[in-house]
């Protein structure tokens, strides 16, 4: 392992790679700080730029955007009561009240310390857990892979929105879109409708940008956009204790930070359970464990620390299923999976045998990004105040321009731009009718893996479905999936019965 670390350091620690990683962190922090822009959007727009780069700087930049975005969301959460990313929603609860009391700088500082510390802990866990997990995953055959993907998609569908059924419908549509193009086994055409462009299939980037960026703008423009954000100017206090975090105060938050790291590691490794859930869970647990729970929600330092530790800790953990099994844990890692594959790297257990040097370079890159978050975070506060002044009336047209050119640049294809537009309208309709978007995207990414595994398993078993039930690991995943669906369905039926009773 030490030797591999040294090789990884040699590959990653060049000034160009460090510059790209820090550049990614900067972009991530700025984008994360702007309400309405998401980390996913930033990564989607950056991905085409990384095509011309080598694998390691490309991945370093994308990881930098991811990590920077997770911290950046807290800046607008604290300064303007609007989370820059969904994961920063819990930070608003105590971060904004602290800003109103003149303690904005203190809140931003504890947010930075908690984010970086929890993120670093989970990165270290990733380094030790991923290789043995990959070794276990190498024992997976086609039936196990199929059952694992079914399990992952079900969990993602269940947690992504209010309705499991709608999440599963979204996932099914994602699987359908993944079949467009050439059949992976026979090479025959599927759903090309006579167009040559359709034979190459639907691209991940057009779908991603359309579903998340274009649809967001289509929803937002329904109401006239105010020129400029409705910013509440925060008071900056002159008292030194309001502008720094003392060692005693930091020690008081350590329990919440470590708890956030543990939660993030455990939950982040399960596909679908993202940073928002972990942030709120950690916040809730910190409040329950606190000697003064009544202070939470009024500007409590530990509240900010708990929320930020929870949301940032997930970043390293979501890479565990991605690197060890090739299963993305959330939307961002789904895009990272696509970016890896474009670079010719196939995340999964074979990555630990075929590309082990890139794995360890990636681990070093994660650490570089953590340092970047800490250093750049310090300067980001001043910059964020200016960026937040960019009015939405300017921002949205600029984003539309970037989406157009970014999507076109993927494959020099106007077809991709047209596909992006189609998914933009589809994403708009899905948002209006409360269908979650994440299951569709993740199912689209996992669809080819799932289909290959299914068909290989059926070839092995001469068409018999019993192969999925006679192999223990496969059966285990299917049983867990069934039990999860039953539990969620029972809860839903109970909730509907309670609702009807309260109305009558």
């Amino acid at each position: 392992m030490l030797e591999q670390f040294l090789v990884g350091m040699q590959l990653m620690l060049t000034w160009q790679n460090i510059l790209f990683a820090l550049g990614g962190v900067t972009i991530g922090i700025l984008v994360g700080a702007i309400p309405g822009l998401t980390v996913t959007m930033a990564i989607a727009i950056i991905v085409p730029i990384t095509f011309k780069m080598n694998a390691i700087p490309a991945v370093a930049m994308l990881l930098g955007v991811y990590k920077g975005g997770m911290y950046g969301g807290s800046i607008s959460a604290i300064l303007v009561n609007t989370p820059g990313t969904p994961a920063a929603s819990a930070t608003v609860l105590d971060g904004y009240p602290m800003a109103q009391k003149g303690q904005a700088i203190k809140a931003l500082k504890i947010s930075k310390y908690s984010s970086v510390m929890a993120d670093t802990i989970t990165d270290i866990v990733l380094i030790f857990v991923a290789p043995p997990l990959a070794a276990i995953a190498l024992k997976f055959g086609p039936p196990e892979v199929f059952s694992l993907v079914v399990f992952a998609l079900t969990i993602i569908a269940a947690v992504s929105g209010q309705s499991l059924l709608k999440g599963l419908v979204g996932a099914t549509l994602g699987l359908l879109f993944a079949t467009v193009g050439m059949d992976p086994v026979t090479g025959l055409s599927r759903f090309s409708f006579g167009y040559v462009d359709m034979l190459k299939g639907i691209g991940l980037i057009p779908m991603l940008i359309g579903l998340f960026a274009i649809s967001e703008i289509l929803v937002k423009v329904e109401n006239k956009i105010a020129d400029g954000l409705d910013m509440t100017v925060f008071r900056q206090s002159d008292r030194p204790e309001d502008n720094r975090v003392s060692w005693v105060e930091f020690k008081g938050c350590l329990k919440s930070i470590f708890r956030g790291a543990a939660l993030g590691t455990g939950l982040g490794a399960i596909p679908g359970l993202g940073s928002t859930i972990t942030a709120f869970l950690n916040y809730g647990m910190a409040k329950r464990a606190s000697k003064h729970p009544e202070r939470f929600g009024q500007g409590e330092l530990e509240g900010v620390a708990a929320a930020e530790a929870g949301n940032s800790a997930v970043v390293g953990a979501t890479l565990i299923p991605l690197l060890s099994m090739g299963i993305p844990g959330d939307i961002v890692t789904a895009v990272l999976l696509g970016a890896f594959m474009i670079q010719g790297i196939a995340p999964g257990p074979t990555m630990f045998t075929d590309n082990i040097d890139i794995i360890y370079a990636l681990f070093i890159g994660l650490m570089v990004c953590n340092v970047g978050n800490f250093v750049i975070g310090t300067f980001s506060i001043k910059a964020a105040k200016n960026v937040l002044r960019v009015p939405n009336t300017i921002l949205y047209p600029v984003i539309l321009m970037l989406c157009f050119i970014g999507t076109y640049a993927v494959d020099n294809s106007m077809f991709d731009v047209q596909a992006m537009f189609f998914f933009g309208v589809l994403g708009y309709l899905m948002r209006k009718f409360n269908f979650p978007l994440a299951p569709l995207l993740i199912a689209f990414v996992l669809g080819p893996m799932m289909e290959n595994a299914l068909r290989q398993a059926l070839i092995l078993s001469d068409g018999s479905l019993t192969i999925f039930f006679t192999r223990p690991i496969s059966l285990g995943f299917l049983l867990i999936t069934t039990v999860t669906v039953i539990i969620i369905t029972i809860k839903l039926i109970r909730h509907q019965i309670t609702e009807r009773r309260s109305k009558t």
Partner: protein
């Protein structure tokens, strides 16, 4: 356009119709088949058929689990959204005709005006500077072959 009924039922019915069309019409027409009798593993239509079947089951459940007396109103495609969509379609068409840079120089100021930007000191330099900057970055640095339009081809 406002939909003033239990919209889950409407969406469910639309998707159910789509899944039936997929199973009985679209897949047989648009998926090339292997000659002879092959098992599901070698059949290109197997996965799409499974998906269509699953979609049908799920949409029936969506229809059935919605309480019939509940109503919601969904506002779809208001004027501003339709105009945004029209802008984007126009951008695609104009780019195909005259090329990326001229189209962007024309469309961006129109976008900005529609979105409500009125500060000319910002709008004018942005309308000229951003398309040129993007063109230079993608065409000259990233070496992307940008559309030149039918008149230049």
């Amino acid at each position: 356009m406002k939909i003033n009924m239990t919209y889950d039922r409407i969406i469910g019915l639309v998707l159910l119709a789509f899944s039936l069309a997929l199973l009985f019409w679209i897949i047989p027409r648009e998926v090339e088949m292997v000659e002879g009798n092959v098992g599901p593993g070698m059949n290109p239509a197997f996965m799409p058929q499974c998906i269509a079947f699953l979609l049908g089951i799920l949409t029936i459940l969506v229809i059935l689990t919605r309480a019939p007396h509940e109503e919601e109103t969904v506002r779809l495609f208001p004027r501003r959204t339709v105009i945004t969509i029209a802008f984007f379609v126009g951008y695609i068409i104009v780019t195909s005709m005259v090329g990326y840079l001229p189209a962007s120089l024309a469309i961006l100021p129109a976008y900005l005006w529609f979105f409500g930007a009125r500060k000319w000191k910002v709008v004018v330099p942005l309308s000229i500077g951003l398309p040129i900057l993007l063109y230079l970055f993608f065409a000259k640095v990233m070496l992307v072959i940008l559309p030149t339009g039918v008149f230049m081809d």
